[in-house]
Symmetry: C2
Subunit: 338 residues, 2 copies
């Protein structure tokens, strides 16, 4: 029997030829390698898989949803190219990021090219005007989530006046949830909505898949945060505590630990987050302090609540193979450790 | 009597409220100032004026074209925000550029926000699918024009592998025309096409305004290049020879001069373009060498040819006040020196 990841991988991979076809539109021959590099780096293709699976679960055919699925995966990769520039990230999935490989100017031009490709692909969906409207709002919110994520950093960016002036010195759970809702949950929600709309689903089905996607997205980001602090390097392929090194108070585990720690240890954590250059030793020390709190259990509990909400939202969908895939995916996101 | 610039200014300014309304959509309160900064810096609003004037000249009403006009002006400003990042430009119209004022991360997020605003505005045009398709191709070509413009630089960007590997050592007139066609003419062409389409114009009228816009755009960029080298600082508000300081062989005047100069002086010009740090004294010396050639006259002649083609394209339009505005604009672009 196939694992849910294999099934998702197959559903998601169906969009690769469409992404490639539209990315190559209006791309000069000597620009093509740079344009395709980001999507050729791989990725789990979870968002397009959600679009296709949502479409199938809502009674549609795969073909109906492929262009919408390609659009959400392109939107995801568009944001990755820009996030890597913004965060000065040099590696992604073990490979140089687009800006690191080609230079910043080229990476910006590639990102612009991705965004136009999204418009071109969306023109092949069932209702281009509606899909364009939804995606435009989604990307605006995604941008705002990224803005908040940066503002929750506690150091760095000394050459960025807007960040220095608007930085959050204190981040509440409410602030955090608003940030991940925008940065992560919204696009995952849209991935599911696009699937439902591609299937001409009734409003109650669209709403159910929207709820499913939103809650799954929230759980997904909380899971990402937990893995960043407590992951196993052999499984994740990256060092633990990257968020601490990047001064992020906008990681749920760090945030909850800071709330719980007594003043002296709380100050130790905050002072590391507020250092311009953080060593990996300091990161380890902070993780030790975090481990003494119940931050991880609280985060796992919150994640589980979102997974449960996602699962419950699927109640109104017709029973069957494709609904099962969505259920399995929720269960995968609950348990994943990489 | 109003000057053509005043008339254009009025037509163009009509789009400001629409740009502001849509830029503020889905923008957090503490992001709004940064979002509006670029369009509040001003600008001649030539592109939206062309959309509105084209719509009127094709028999439409102002109201029919305002959203399309706002979209092209937003697209122009979107490209300016990113170009200023790419070119490390610190000043525009005497004010700090977006990245200089707010920081690079914020400028990138603002640019992304502009692009989504374009999609939202286009959904209020006569045919969102068609207008989206045209604009997506236009911005892809604009991106490619910017890519070529960078590749025609003869030095700098030592940290950008793609540029170092693909740089043009020799730029032909054909290369140059392809670059400015994409970088500049295409969006001006689209501005006119959007006006014609907003007016429900017949195909021959759309084609005529397309030809007008394309040729006007070519003339506009050639004029820009001439002003960069031979402008008067009191009028332009910037130092002459900026393109030389930025190593650009992709300026028609520099290009034609290099073709014409004898080997020793030609090498002097090229060696300045190929220096990583160019002083303003060296820029002056290069301008002196360029002045000995017929590069300026040749460029002026080429510009005039494009203006004539633009004017001729208007032959099929009904005579009247709005066609006269388009004719005056062509004449303004032929003569402008700022």
């Amino acid at each position: 029997m196939q694992s849910v990841l294999e099934v998702l991988g197959e559903l998601g991979k169906a969009v690769d030829p469409i992404m490639i076809e539209f990315l190559l539109k209006d791309a000069s021959p000597e620009f093509q390698e740079a344009v395709l590099y980001q999507i050729k780096m791989g990725g789990k293709r979870i968002r397009p898989a959600l679009t296709v699976a949502s479409c199938l679960a809502a009674g549609g055919n795969i073909q109906d949803s492929l262009h919408a699925a390609a659009a959400v995966e392109l939107a995801h990769n568009y944001s990755l190219i820009l996030d890597d520039i913004i965060d000065h990230s040099e590696l992604r999935r073990g490979l140089p990021t687009v800006w690191k490989k080609y230079g910043i100017s080229t990476a910006i031009l590639v990102a612009v090219h991705y965004r136009e490709t999204i418009s071109q692909v969306l023109n092949h969906t069932r209702d281009p005007k509606l899909f364009n409207e939804i995606l435009a709002e989604t990307i605006k919110l995604l941008t705002d989530g990224e803005r908040l994520d940066i503002l929750f950093e506690q150091a760095g960016r000394s050459d960025e006046p807007y960040i220095l002036e608007n930085r959050y010195r204190k981040v509440t759970l409410e602030d955090y949830l608003k940030m991940i809702e925008r940065k992560t949950a919204k696009l995952i929600e849209t991935s599911c909505v696009f699937g439902a709309l591609s299937a001409h689903a009734d409003k109650n089905i669209v709403d159910a898949l929207k709820q499913y996607g939103y809650n799954l997205g929230m759980a997904f980001q909380i899971g990402d945060d937990i893995i960043d602090i407590f992951g196993v390097e052999e499984k994740t392929g990256k060092k633990v505590g990257g968020d601490i090194k990047e001064h992020k108070l906008g990681n749920i585990v760090v945030l909850l630990a800071v709330e719980e720690l007594e003043s002296s240890e709380k100050e130790q954590v905050l002072s590391v987050l507020r250092k311009d250059d953080v060593s990996w030793e300091e990161v380890s020390h902070v993780i030790k302090l975090i481990s003494k709190t119940s931050a991880r259990q609280k985060a796992e509990k919150l994640k589980k609540e979102y997974v449960d909400k996602a699962v419950n939202a699927l109640e109104v969908l017709p029973r069957g193979k494709y609904r099962d895939i969505l259920l399995e995916l929720a269960s995968f996101i609950e348990k994943r450790d990489f």
